[in-house]
Structure formats: C-alpha cells, structure tokens
C-alpha cells in the first residue's frame, strides 16, 4: 500500500494525477491537499471513500506541512510519494509588477516546494524509500513575457529538484521534476479563443495536453520502475523547443 500526497488537489491537474493513480494502482491511498476551494477534491474523495481523502494544507505554512505529514504517517505508517503540484501565476510585465505579485508567486510556487520536501525527507529517509515529483512548468525553460515571477519560481523548482536529488540519492529517495506546457485545465481559463488558437499554432502537435498525459509521467516517476531516475526534468509539451 502506497501513501501519496498531492498538493493543489482541487485543480484540474492535481485531480487528473489523483484519478490516474486511483485507476492504475488499486492499492494506493491518496491525500488531496487543498487550501480554500475543495469542492472538486471532495467529489473525488466521495467517489473513492476508502482510498482518497481531502486534507486542508496551506502549502506556504511549515506548521501545516508538519501536521499533514504527521497525520498521514500516523494513519498508514508511511509517506511514499509527494507530488508538489500546488501553484499560482499572477502575470505582469516586470516594470509594473506589484511586490505582492512577486512575493506571492515565489511563495506559492517555490517556498511551498521547499517546505513540502523538507517535511517528507526525514520520514522517507527513515523508510529508506520515497518519491518526490515536483510539478514545474515549461515556463522554467521558455518563459513568456509577463512571467518573470512564475518563471523564476519554476526554474528554482527545477534547480532545487536537481540539488535535492543528489542529497537524497543514497537514502533511496528520488526527486524529479515534470514541466508541463499548455494543459487543458483551469490554468488556461484566462485565454480567449484567439489566444488559444495562437498558442496551438506554436505547438508542433497543434493541440493542448490533457491532464492524464501529465499524470502518466508522474505515475511512472513514482513507480518502482523509475528507481534509477533522479534529478530529471521531463518536458511534457507536445514538442515545444
């Protein structure tokens, strides 16, 4: 039985990842970490009452992480997989970026990953096994204008992933990053039809990705088969370079 914590559990990508694990691994237990909104996460938890649960987790709060991980390990004795998926973007050109847009995005996307990793590393070391998958973004490599904050945070996540991978390799813990491009979730909600058409024109596959296409990569990185993969950054973006 694997214990799996997925942050951003009320969003399209977090739910897609959770649903993929629940379908593919009948023996896993999922905790969906959510902040304010939890309706969609609660629906999935109701669908799998024995194997999926919604927990309140403010990912920028070290104390909340401690409580969440302690709750999971108290119940199952283990924390096998952490998927750091929570994140937000607040786009502005740098010249006009308010302080709170900078700090808020760095905090939600980068501090949160640091706090999550720190919370699970010691229990995973005790188990001598663990899988951490950080959901970064294609913006870490190919940032569009207006995302200095988001791109810096996600590039930081990629660098943190590689560093932590070295620090935990001998403890049986792997740490990898997934970099999705355009994926059909609420994150694309701010784009009108014309913007979507233009975005698709720039993707060699001429379409957006589906959450389950990202989830499949996360599932692999969390599996025993990926035991020699650590510090990797996997782009999932329909071929954008």
């Amino acid at each position: 039985m694997r214990s799996i914590l997925i942050t951003g559990g009320n969003g399209g990508l977090g739910l897609g990842i959770a649903r993929y694990f629940l379908r593919k691994d009948g023996d896993c237990r999922i905790w969906l970490g959510v902040r304010a909104n939890r309706d969609a996460a609660d629906l999935l938890s109701a669908e799998y009452p024995e194997r999926c649960r919604t927990v309140t987790l403010e990912v920028t709060d070290a104390g909340a992480w401690g409580e969440a991980v302690a709750g999971i390990t108290a119940e199952t004795g283990r924390i096998d997989v952490l998927v750091n998926n929570a994140g937000v973007h607040r786009d502005h050109l740098l010249a006009a970026m308010p302080d709170e847009a900078w700090h808020g995005v760095i905090s939600s996307n980068l501090d949160s990953v640091f706090l999550g990793c720190r919370a699970v590393v010691t229990p995973m070391m005790r188990q001598r096994s663990g899988r951490i998958i950080n959901i970064a973004s294609l913006s870490a490599l190919l940032p569009p204008m207006g995302q200095t904050n988001y791109a810096a945070a996600k590039a930081g996540v990629v660098a943190m992933t590689r560093t932590l991978a070295k620090e935990t390799a001998r403890a049986g813990i792997t740490v990898n990053a997934v970099l999705p491009g355009y994926v059909e979730t609420e994150a694309l909600g701010g784009m009108d039809d014309e913007a979507k058409k233009q975005a698709k024109a720039g993707i060699p596959m001429r379409r957006f990705g589906r959450p389950e296409e990202v989830a499949a990569a996360v599932f692999f990185l969390a599996s025993a088969e990926a035991s020699y993969v650590t510090g990797a950054s996997l782009k999932i973006d329909g071929g954008i370079f």
Binding site: M125, E167, R170, A171
Partner: protein, 85 residues
C-alpha cells in the same frame, strides 16, 4: 545491548543504511567516520546516520554541534547510546 555487541551492531547498521562498501569487521571502533583518514563519509551520510541511529537505537541527536562530537567514531556513538540506557 552494550559493549562489543553494541559496537558490532552499530557497524552493521552503518554498512546497511549508508550502503558502505565495507564489511562491518573492517571498521575499527575508533576509526574516524568523517574525513579522508577514516571512512571518508560526508554531510549527507551524517544526516542519514542521525536518522538511522534514532531508528535502530532510539538515540536522539538535537543539533549539529552535538552531532559532531557523537558521530566521531563507532566508539563515541556507542558511549552515547550506553549513557541513555
């Protein structure tokens, strides 16, 4: 557990948990754990060793200054565990 039996068990735990390329018998009681004249372990090993000692012997090491003294050799680790018994 005390004396030679405890020291042997500490060496076995170190070899297993830190994946050392030594047999437990090759590690002397007073061999330095860190640095080029001893086993040559690094700070990542130190962190893992702290976790392993708590898991196997219930030894809690509070901070890095304390760890430096305790993790000098198998002997210093054993003395610390025996103190708590």
């Amino acid at each position: 557990m005390q004396g030679a039996e405890l020291r042997q068990k500490i060496k076995e735990v170190m070899v297993e948990e830190l994946m050392l390329d030594y047999a437990p018998e090759e590690i002397g009681d007073k061999t330095s754990i860190f640095g080029s004249h001893g086993l040559g372990l690094d700070s990542v090993d130190a962190l893992q060793l702290v976790v392993a000692l708590e898991k196997h012997f219930g030894l809690k090491i509070g901070n890095s200054a304390e760890a430096k003294g305790i993790l000098e050799s198998v002997e210093t680790i054993a003395v610390e565990i025996e103190k708590g018994q």
